[in-house]
């Protein structure tokens, strides 16, 4: 453990000011399920935590049928999977928010924290990518938005500039006849880091796949938006051939490392398997 200072802020502006004043060793504290662990283990130099859980905007979970869904950066998983609108319209967010950590961790862990921690294996990121999430960022120069697939720039690195924080993530309202799903592979059944994870969103026009997005995690320095996999599905009815082509595209896009959690060969293979499996669930959900 390091000796830490702690500040709780109640507006986005105060958070930006505190981050600027704190410099590179100040960190935003959302649920703390990553940052407190890192401070304890001394794996990052941190001397100040700025708690944003006093800001209403970062705690919201708000849906309307036209505008879509806005999830505050610090809204914990349990509020996300407890929300009736999210359950009805965004089951892929239920998939990931119910499997991050366990019940205790889900009481705190946020999608914003998951994204800002920017781990290649972050379990909410592929789902947010296929759901066309856009990250709303506030900073010394005002606000800007970045598509989730462009947010992470490397393991533990992202587009946030000094003094910036993530305020919320916005998802468009789901189109008719669409469905999305997220899955991960772990050697156990809980409390593990994804060896590979994947998400798919599909839209159908009759039997034809009219639109598709596929994303993979833990297979590259950042979560991947695999456009080639989506393209392999679009313009035809789902078939063993198109699914195999999408899986092959995922496998080709994956450039994983060998580490204690998985080997290159294993991860490449699982990229294909989990692409196929999420396509199947997404299609089932689209057909409702």
């Amino acid at each position: 453990m390091q000796d830490l200072r702690y500040a709780k802020v109640s507006t986005v502006d105060d958070a930006v000011a505190a981050l600027q004043a704190g410099g590179s060793t100040a960190r935003v504290l959302a649920g703390g399920t990553d940052v407190i662990v890192q401070a304890r283990a001394r794996t990052r130099a941190i001397d100040m935590l700025i708690d944003i859980k006093g800001i209403d905007e970062v705690l919201q979970v708000a849906f309307d049928a036209d505008g879509g869904l806005t999830i505050g950066a610090a809204a914990p998983c349990y509020r996300i999977y407890g929300d009736a609108d999210v359950r009805e319209h965004y089951p892929a967010l239920i998939d990931c928010s119910t499997l991050i950590g366990g019940t205790g961790v889900q009481g705190r862990a946020s999608l914003g924290g998951n994204l800002c921690n920017s781990s290649p294996s972050g379990d909410s990121i592929p789902a947010m990518i296929v759901l066309e999430g856009r990250a709303e960022i506030a900073g010394p120069n005002g606000r800007r938005t970045v598509p989730v697939e462009d947010f992470c720039t490397g393991p533990g690195r992202n587009v946030l500039e000094p003094g910036e924080l993530l305020v919320s993530i916005h998802f468009p309202a789901p189109a008719p006849n669409s469905g999305a799903a997220f899955l991960r592979f772990i050697p156990r059944n809980e409390m593990d880091i994804a060896v590979v994870n994947a998400a798919t969103q599909l839209r159908f026009d009759g039997d034809t796949v009219s639109w598709a997005r596929v994303s993979l995690g833990a297979t590259a320095p950042t979560p991947l938006f695999v456009t080639a996999a989506g393209e392999a599905l679009v313009g035809a009815a789902l078939s063993d051939e198109t699914i195999a082509a999408a899986a092959a595209a995922s496998k080709a896009a994956a450039s994983p490392i060998d580490d204690m959690r998985g080997s290159i060969k294993q991860r490449k293979h699982l990229s294909a398997v989990y692409t196929q499996r999420t396509i199947a669930i997404a299609a089932e959900r689209a057909r409702g």
Partner: protein
Amino acid sequence: MVTTEKPKYKVVGTRPIRPDGVEKVNGRAEYGADVSLPGLLPGAVLRSPHAHARILSIDTSKAEAMAGVRAVVTSADFPPREGDGPQARDNVLAHDKVLYVGHAVAAVAAVDLHTAEDAVELIEVQYEVLPHVMDVRDAMLDGAPILDATLRTGEPDGSKGDSATNVAQHIHYEKGDLAAGFAEADIVIEREYETTMAHQGYIEPQNGTALWGPDDQIRIWTSTQGLFAVRDTVAGMLGLPVKSVKVEPVEIGGGFGGKIPTYLPPVAALLSRKSGKPVKLTMSRKEVLEATGPTSGTYMRVKMGAKKDGTLTAMEAWLAFEAGGYPGSPVGAATMCVFAPYACANQVIDGYDVLVNKPQTAAYRAPGAPASEYAAECLIDEIAEALDRDPLELRLQNSVKEGDSRADGFTYGPVGHVECLQEAQESPHYQSELSGENRGRGVASGFWFNIGFETSMAAQIQSDGTVPLVMGAVDIGGSRASAAMQFAETLGIASEDIKPHIVDTDSVGFTFLTGGSRTAFANGWAAYECAMDMRRQMEERAATIWDCDRESVRYDDDGVIRGPAAAAGAPQEFTFKELAAELPNTGGGIVGRADVSKTTHGPAFATHIVDVEVDAETGKVEVLRYTAIQDVGTAIHPSYVEGQMQGGAAQGIGMALNEEYIWDDKGRMVNSSLLDYRMPTALDLPMLDTIIVEVPNPGHPYGVRGVGEVPIIPPAPALHAAIYNAIGERMRTLPMSPRRILERTLPDDE
């Protein structure tokens, strides 16, 4: 004394609420890290970043000068060394060399933990990094990096080798004529097996608090399996007489053998002497995994011959076990266990204790047996397949029975392997059909010795007839309950009237470790003898009250003391409680006592059945159904017996499927967290069904054998067989993780 009909017990075999249950459930029970004392200083330990290095110098001056630091110690703070070779204390604070990453080098006590951790980073150690060796096969080669230049191999005949080596001990057992046995065989199969280092994974990290008084009296609080072992170790390392050290009992959050060695208490004591304050050291999970004693990784070769009729004619094993930085792997037990369930006439077994630059290994639930018996049981399964025999049938045909002996010379009394196999055959699980793609069933057996040794107990009677029962064995698995129950059974009273207490090392006679599946057995003997001592004294007291001949008074098993008139039909009797109430006015209290050291422990056998489904696309194994069958002698408290069987099976499944130490090329463990050291969670296991077999141990008043260890042995070979039956692959390296299975089944070009 072996009876198939069970004796009628009133307390033994029932399921009372455990005496320590409420405190543990409501969080009030005091564990090692809960100890709080006036002026207590926290501390932190500096650990080696190198797998093998010579320590050239340690400069603690900057740490000592830091504000808030109260003491810094290194191995130089121990008393002067005697002799050349390594000593036990070198694993507590490294002397001239560090032998594994995580090896303790120095320690700091400070006003708070942040300061202590910051100060640790200011200690400057100069190392000369040496080549390291991690695999037993490499360590046994000529020219391997040598960990201890003074080490010479101890040979089976007691002689010593004459050159520098990493092989600390070579063990050899044989019986019969191996060559003749193989010549007689119709089939001979030889296989290689490997297991990886695995940790006990107890919940509570190691801790140690010490208060070194100005009178050189030291008090220690620590979570340990042996209060007396800590006392003797601390006194020995500090060069003090035993009377200077008192070890206080605290609750223990699991041990499984890993809390037998002493790591932190001597260091806390040195810091306390320097600072004049009590000092508490606690380990992080990373320290627990990197710097305490897991069980050995191994490399093993096993060869067996069998006749077409199923008779095993020859068995040969070659076992090399990782010791860690100092001698002491469990290969000795592994060699005795490897073929223990089978009555094969011709056997040769060789075992090697090999130093490698990994954490010093410690006992882990049936130390050594889960590896060596895994190798043997997997091969038995292959033999059964080759002979087209049911694997339980083949085991039954070759099983040891009373009168058979092992290669190490031990001859069995009544044992229950045959009974376990028969129960397995008749079990609903084995009788059920298993169908479906990628599904398979496997079975395997296990053997463990169990042990006896010293246990002391004392009890007094309170005027209301309740009995505080004082003992020295730490309660890990429900031993307060089982001691109280056996004591109550002997006195013919209710177990709820017994108040078991575990007390410090000055307040009870010497008691050996809680380990070796001995505690219910040895506590039971002590409780029985202590209660019998009380019965005799109560008979005497009743004789005084009734003014009759002592020999004419009888304490009966129903808890009633009857005088001579009662024998003639007149009312002359006391219940236990009635006589208890009389004691203060008729001569004072009664104290019962017992000191036992028994060698009549009974071996344990188990047979497990498992069904799995393998996800062929991911290599992940799902355990569908599990049944553990075990001869326990007598189940004193069946719920805790079932809990031990389930707990052992869960740990065995963990070692079989996912748990492993993973190292980088510098000899650093890369998965030292519970996120990446993958023990099974509740979601990874089905209900673990149990079938208790009771073949009473004639060497125990209630037939107890010992329960805790044997159930960890069968899971890995049973899973090996089940996975083979599911997907046709024989996985001969543990763990059989998704990665290993997938890499085996994927085509090379994928």
